[in-house]
């Protein structure tokens, strides 16, 4: 059992795994933003369905959030300021998950608006998906070490002195 645990720890703390996760998560958030950036009115309607964002903030959220996602996604992929980016995405995922859970408990039959404009109902599967992505952001925060954009370019690795 301890050897299995030791193996799992090796995988979880691996900087190569963190790199793969970083690129995967970055791609997901860029993809998620694509439909929302062009049509903020539709995304605003999705957000309104959650009945949590106040009246005065609805349009601002629908305009700004779809751009925060691809910018963070791009930064993750190129490896620039990945810790700050991972924290921002972790915060977003917490907020999204709380919104989804609240509406599941209310029995609301609404569209998630996470990846697609329509046809993506909320549910516990969405909560699980967001939780997995949240864990990935934590892994990036703690274990991401290689192919990072530093002085010297993306392929330099700054070793400890």
């Amino acid at each position: 059992m301890n050897r299995i645990w030791s193996f799992i720890k090796k995988i979880v703390t691996s900087e190569y795994v963190a790199l793969v996760i970083r690129i995967y998560l970055g791609s997901i958030f860029i993809y998620a933003s694509m439909s929302k950036v062009i049509e903020p009115a539709v995304f605003a309607e999705n957000i309104a369905g959650y009945r949590i964002v106040p009246y005065w903030g609805l349009n601002l959220t629908a305009i700004i959030l779809p751009w925060l996602e691809p910018i963070c996604g791009f930064l993750l992929i190129i490896g620039l300021r990945t810790r700050a980016t991972a924290l921002i995405l972790a915060g977003l995922l917490i907020v999204f998950t709380v919104f989804v859970i609240l509406n599941i408990l209310r029995g609301a039959d609404i569209n998630c608006g996470c990846l697609e404009k329509v046809g993506e109902p909320i549910g516990w599967a969405k909560v699980a998906q967001n939780t997995v992505w949240f864990i990935m952001t934590i892994m990036i925060f703690f274990f991401d070490r290689i192919f990072l954009f530093r002085r010297g370019g993306i392929f330099s690795r700054k070793k400890m002195e």
């Binding site: 349009n59 305009i63 070793k159």
Partner: protein, 303 residues
């Protein structure tokens, strides 16, 4: 005696002492003792004074040290027959690696105290210990190289990063919204048409009982289906034109229409009321307080 016999057998099977003479084995077994450890028990503490060599009799143990950032990295995994701490048999030293039992483990501990005379009487033991130390380095160095390769600096992070990322998102999003043909206003602003007024729930209920008014629910259909005022028509904002043509297009323009339906995020009732007014309905009213006020007043709803 049984313990000593057991120890002697394990010593003879160990990588360290399998090639030494029988007499040397007897002498080492006489000073060695068995020690038992449970899973996760600490066997050696990093940096502590080391004065014994350990041979794994059964079970498994892990030897590790700590990196610069305090992260643990593994040097060796040990099974039956493996040994650690050979240098401690020759000289005073401090533990360069900590050791923990990975499962229930039995170790044979050979103290430096009492080992000196054995070395003097049995030169083959000197040879065995020397080879043991060499093999130890041979096993540890690749593990250290592997771990050192992982010790890259963590990415830099500061408050400025957050300010730049969020600031950049604000600038790009607001700029894009301005040029986007499908852009929206920064804030929802609804100006009610002249002639649209508000009606209180009890007053509206009386009109409903007399059949004087038509009720329109402006919420999205999934909310309408959960609950709505009895007899209300659903006219969601997003598909207003389509539903209006099917339901209210032929309605008398003088007939009173009471619109309700708002949430913390959207005032659907105001937007639908404006649209009805644009369609020349002269007598459009909005239910004050919406469905929640209607229910609080004790007026009936249906799924």
């Amino acid at each position: 005696m049984e313990e000593k016999s057991r120890i002697r057998v394990k010593l003879a099977e160990s990588t360290l002492f399998r090639k030494i003479s029988s007499d040397a084995l007897d002498e080492i077994a006489s000073i060695a003792q068995e020690k038992f450890y449970q899973t996760n028990d600490a066997i050696r503490i990093l940096g502590e004074h080391g004065d014994s060599c350990y041979i794994v009799s059964s079970g498994a143990a892990e030897v590790f040290t700590k990196g610069r950032e305090g992260t643990k990295f593994e040097l060796l995994q040990m099974g039956p027959g493996d040994s650690v701490g050979e240098i401690a048999l020759l000289t005073e030293t401090h533990n360069l690696g900590a050791m923990t039992a990975l499962e229930e483990t039995t170790l044979i501990e050979i103290p430096r105290n009492g080992f000196g005379p054995i070395l003097q009487r049995h030169p083959d033991v000197i040879d065995a210990v020397g080879k043991g130390i060499y093999q130890q380095f041979h096993r540890v160095i690749p593990a250290m190289e592997r771990e050192v390769g992982r010790q890259f600096l963590a990415p830099y992070m500061s408050w400025l990063d957050f300010i730049i990322i969020i600031g950049l998102s604000l600038i790009v999003s607001l700029g894009f919204n301005k040029v986007n043909q499908k852009g929206i206003s920064l804030f929802q602003q609804i100006t009610l048409d002249e002639g649209i007024s508000f009606v209180r729930p009890l007053e509206a209920f009386l009109k409903q009982k007399k059949g004087q008014s038509l009720f329109v629910d402006a919420m999205p259909t999934n909310f309408y289906e959960k609950e709505h005022i009895q007899g209300a028509e659903n006219l969601p904002l997003t598909i207003f034109d389509f539903i209006y043509d099917m339901t209210l297009a032929d309605e008398d323009k003088e007939k009173e229409i009471i619109v309700y339906g708002r949430s913390i995020s959207r005032h659907y009732d105001e937007q639908v009321a404006n649209k009805l007014s644009l369609r020349n309905h002269k007598n459009v009213k909005i239910l004050k307080g919406g469905l929640s006020a209607w229910k609080k007043s004790g007026c009936p709803v249906e799924p």
